[in-house]
Every structure is written in C-alpha cells, then in structure tokens.
C-alpha cells in the first residue's frame, strides 16, 4: 500500500510536469484492492475498472510496466495502443482496463458462467465504483449472474464520489449493497479501509462461490482521497477539511500500522517504511527517465491486430503512410520510432 502511494504521488506529479499525459491515483482505497487480490487465487480472473493498481501490483505487475504503459513507448506490453492506466495482463489473469464504465461487469458474469459450466476452481472478480453501478449494465450483470449461477464476485468500491457527483446525487437507496439481495444474491458490506476485514471477507466470499456455485456481492465503504484523475481538481466540489479528516482519521495505511503496533505484531519500524518509500520513489524516477528515453512504438505495428491477420486494405494504408513519411521525413522524428519506417 505504501509503494502504491509513493508511485501514485510521483506519477500524478509527472503528469503535471508533462511527462505523461494522464493518470489516476488510488489514494485511500488501496486496502480494498490489495486485501482482495491477496485473498483471491492466481487463476482467478480480475475484470478491473481503472483504480485497481493494487490488484495489478499484488500479482506482480511492475512499476516499470506501469510507467512504460503510461508513457506509451515501445516497451509497453500494450504496443502503445491505450491511454495511461489502461493496462492488462494475460499472464496475471487481469483483463485490460476499458474506458466505458461498467461494461466489465456483465463480462465478469459471462466468464463466471464459463467457469461454472466447465467445473473450474476459478472465479471472475470484477471491480466497479458506486457511480458505475448506476449504469444499465450493472443490473443485467447482477440479474444474470444469479439466475445463471455464475462464479462471479462483484466488488464495489464505494468511495463517495463519481468525479464530482456525491453519493446523494447518484442513488437514494441503502448504498449499492442494498440492491444485491433484491437479485437474490448473498451480500457483504465491508469497511474498505480495514485491510484485514477486506482480506477475510473476500476469502470467505470466494469459498462460498466455489462451494455453492453462485455469485457473491461485496461493497467496500472507503473514500477517494485524491482527485478523480489528473483532469480533475476536487477541491472545487468538496472541502479540504473533509479530505483531511479521512486522510488523517480513516486512512488504510495508518490504520493497519496502528493495529499491528497495538497488537505487538509490528515487525518493522517507521524507518523501514520510509526506506521502502525512498526505494520506490527512486525506482519510479529511474523508470520515468529510462522510459522517456526509449523509442516510440513501431509504425509497422500500427496496422496489426485489427484482425487476426493484416488484410490487403491495411497493407495499402501502411504503404501510403510510409510513402508520406519518406516524402516529409525531415518533418517527423523518424529516428524516435522503433524500427524506423
């Protein structure tokens, strides 16, 4: 959680400095993602929304992978195709982040259906915010998951804001967890800033899903300490006092630290934590430096992956582009393109 906080800090600042074009932090919510992913098994599929760097990093997605994706250089596993924070990993069983909200939720119902029908010890865990739960896709996903008995775990991060829209303007019922029993679904509501509660709750939910072969719903109550994204300035719609009260009073990192200390379980001291922060900072800075010195993705790859093979009209367009670049080569930094023309 500490590493993510340091990384988020630096990458947010690097956007302000023009090194990357966009970023989304997860301040205040890392207990939800880290605790959950620790309680899942590596073969479980995760369908993220966009604020789950905790899930990615717990499973081994590296700082360098994140930074290269945000920069969009040739080392990006996504071939420079996606906006920052839209990463994914087939190896880690995490489906690529997709912008339109809530579309990942019925997808998770579908995958969970497949797991049940094939008798697999796998679940499809999907993340979404309390705002995204307003979309029509949420209703279809929940209804079908229960009706078709899908091995799906629905994970709602209720962080109190959807960009500037507070929960009062988003819904009037008893939070999102209040809706799940109406679908016939088993539901837990968990303090999302209590890492251990998150871990235990998800562990229990997963066991139940596999045992009963039906979905489970968990809502985490947490708070979005940072802005929605680098395109947002949240003090325009909420008070600094409100933000500070969560930051100092109900912060997952502080709570875990204090709990361990009180229980006498705290293995490390503040100095050790500060060293971690320093190491992560240095690593992110090095990754940003190296990443920005790398070449940009290759032009040849621009026309691949539209279909399974490159169709003739696409080869033609690649040739036209290459001719254009050759004709105007002093107007383009071609030496910065991996593989040149």
């Amino acid at each position: 959680m500490i590493s993510i906080e340091e990384m988020d800090n630096l990458l947010y600042m690097s956007q302000r400095q023009g090194k990357i074009s966009f970023y989304m932090t997860s301040f205040g919510e890392t207990a939800t993602t880290v605790g959950t992913t620790a309680a899942l098994q590596s073969q479980d599929f995760i369908f993220p929304q966009y604020r789950e760097q905790g899930s990615f990093m717990w499973r081994g997605f590296t700082i360098e992978q994140i930074v290269n994706q945000c920069i969009g250089n040739h080392l990006d596993g996504g071939k420079g195709r996606q906006m920052p924070v839209h990463y994914g990993s087939k190896d880690l069983n995490i489906v690529t982040v997709s912008s339109p909200l809530t579309t990942q939720v019925p997808q998770a119902s579908g995958a969970g259906y497949g797991f049940r029908v094939n008798g697999e010890n796998k679940i499809a865990a999907t993340w979404f915010g309390e705002g995204a739960a307003s979309e029509g896709d949420f209703h279809s996903a929940m209804n079908f998951a229960q009706t078709l008995k899908c091995q799906t775990l629905f994970l709602c991060r209720n962080n109190h804001y959807a960009i500037s829209t507070p929960t009062d303007d988003q819904f009037r019922g008893d939070t999102i967890a209040g809706k799940a029993p109406a679908y016939g679904m088993r539901t837990l509501k968990i303090d999302g800033n209590d890492l251990l509660a998150v871990y235990n709750g998800v562990k229990y939910a997963r066991e139940q899903i596999i045992k009963n072969k039906e979905p489970f719903f968990i809502e985490f109550i947490t708070y979005r300490i940072g802005d929605h994204s680098t395109s947002d300035h949240s003090v325009l719609y909420r008070s600094q006092e409100e933000i500070d009260s969560w930051k100092s009073g109900n912060n997952p990192i502080n709570r875990l630290g204090l709990f361990l200390k009180k229980q006498g379980l705290r293995q490390f001291n503040d100095e050790h934590d500060n060293q971690i922060r320093k190491d992560v900072r240095n690593r992110v800075i090095a990754a940003l430096k190296n990443g920005s010195e790398q070449q940009q993705p290759s032009i040849q790859d621009m026309f691949t992956d539209v279909y399974d093979e490159v169709l003739p009209h696409l080869s033609e367009q690649y040739t036209q582009l290459r001719d254009h670049l050759t004709k105007y080569k002093d107007q383009y930094p071609i030496n910065k393109f991996k593989g040149g023309l």
């Binding site: 996606q82 906006m83 307003s134 029509g136 988003q170």
Partner: protein
Amino acid sequence: MYKHLLKLRYGYQPSIKFTHVHASTQYTPVKMTVREAINLAMDEELAHDPNVFLLGEEVGQYQGAYKVSKGLFQKYGGDRVIDTPITEAGFTGIAVGAALYGLKPIVEFMTWNFAMQAIDHIINSAAKSRYMSAGDQQASIVFRGINGATAYVAAQHSQCFASWYSNVPGLVVLAPFDCDDAKSLLKAAVRNPNPVVFLENEILYSETFELSAEARDPNYLAPIGKAKIMRQGDHVTIIAFSKMVQYSLRAAEQLFREGINCEVINLRSLRPLDRETILESVKKTGRVVCVEEGWPQSGISAEITALIMEGGAFKYLDAPVQRVTGAEIPTPYAFNLEAMAFPKTEQIVDAVLNVLKGAR
C-alpha cells in the same frame, strides 16, 4: 491567416481586439472561443423557452466536463440544468420521454463514444418516432457532445460518428466548425421539431473565432441543410466538416501561394447534405477532394462521391474524387501512432496536387 479569410468573407479587417463580450446589437467585432459560443447558444435558448432544459453527467455544479455549460446551473437552477447519475441509456431514454411529452431537452454526452450505450434510444425511440406514430409523436430534442479525435485518448474516446448517424432517416445531423456555426446551428437545432445529433469537437472548443454580427443576433438561426463556402476558388473543390475545415483552409492557403485556387466547403449539415452547393461547386471546378477524420469505408466522403455520380455532375469531373481520411484502425495512444492515424494538412495538399494531375 484568419484576417485574410475575414477579408475574403466580410470585406473588412478588424482593427480593435476585444475580450469576450455577451451578444449585443452593436456592430463591434466580438471574438470568443467555440466553447463560449455553444454556452451562449444554450444560455439564450434556456432564456427564450421555459421548456428547454439541459441534462447530462457533470453539466450542472461541475460546470460541465469540458466547461461548456459554465454558469448555466447558477443562472437557471437544478430544474433546468440537471446532473444525472452515470447511465447514458437511462438519461437518454428519460430525455426522449420528456421530449415526447413536449419538453425540449438538450442531452449532453461526455463524448459521443459513450453515447453508444444510449444509441437505441437515439435511433429507435427518437429518430423513428414521428414516422412510426404517423405524425402523432415528435421528439424535439438535441443530442450533443464531442465527436472524433481529441488527442491522447485512444480508441474508445476518438471515434467519429458522423457516418453512423447521418445514415439514419428521421435524424438531423449537424457538425459546426467555427463560432458562427456553433452558436447559430445549435440555436436552430434546439428550435427544430426533429431530433438533432450535434457533433462538436474538443480541440475546436478552445479555438477563437470572431462571432459575426448576424450570429450575434439572439434571434438568428442558421439554416439547416446549408453548407458554407469558406473560401472561393475555381481549380479544386475541397469538402470537409468540423476540424478538417481548419486543415483544409490551411492547405488552401498553402496552395494559393503556388497559384492554385481551392474552393473550401464547410458542410455544417451532414444530414440533410447540401447537395446544391456541393454539385454547383463540382460543376465549376471539375475536381474534388473530400476530407474527414473518420474511417474511409462508408464514410461521408463515400456518400459525397455517390451523390456526385447521381446528381448530374459526373460529366463535369476531370479526375476521380480523392479522399483524405483517418487510418482504418482503432485509434492508438502512443503519440507517434496517433499523429499518423489522422489526416494532416500536407496530405490534403498532396491530394489536391494529385487530383490536378488527374492521378488516382
């Protein structure tokens, strides 16, 4: 460069610079951004008709995701400027219902890319209503939002929907370029009794243009279905809409210095298309270059090519129609790849030179 255009269009050059001033009947030059022009149009229409209201995500207290509705919530309150929960399908359906009742909603999509979650309501609930109800039901509604490439937002935020919506009978589809277009077309759209798809452009939001005396008049509505000739010429016709009009004008300026006079048509209305203006120009020049940001197959340029064949202008052509379009791929993110995915001014210049050679 813009002063040169003003001279061509209005025959005078503004000598005094003004900062943004609200519309008045005095004839002093007024400059504003396209964002401000759209804001002004909505402000005037909200004031003019109590049945008009604006709804969408973040349009009220947040002043708009792109600040287009700035100040409107404060001025008209939460009953006329409504912040919706996150559900495009939901609020579009609600808006169409309100329109069928007789209200006049303006629906703002954060981007037309997200409107795909609401497209059933746009087409099946709004566009076809009048016909299916034998004239009993009408939906006087405007759907507006940013369309096409924006910069650094990749595949799911950069698609151009001009081609999809202009295909549908029952819809009016408009694509403004400058402040005159943005203000007077939006006002016309709000007052039009048919459902209107209004395709804005995020990059153009921050561009400054002069608002003409005509457009400053709060009673002036642009004619729907009429294109605008931005620059006259008799060698080649360049046809474009939205941001590509700007690139076409730049290309025309470059070519002018080489002695080639291009006629640049700003379509403004994609459905109905202004056939008369297009065909008259084609008959005059005999050579056509169509420019669009979207994908080539089934694009606007494809329709224009067909209508030239059918409209009696075929025998006036001295060369086949040339198209300059976006690359036929989902928009990539990496800066170099995205830059290559959309038309450039040089490509429009090259296309004009090609069409003059009679080459393909």
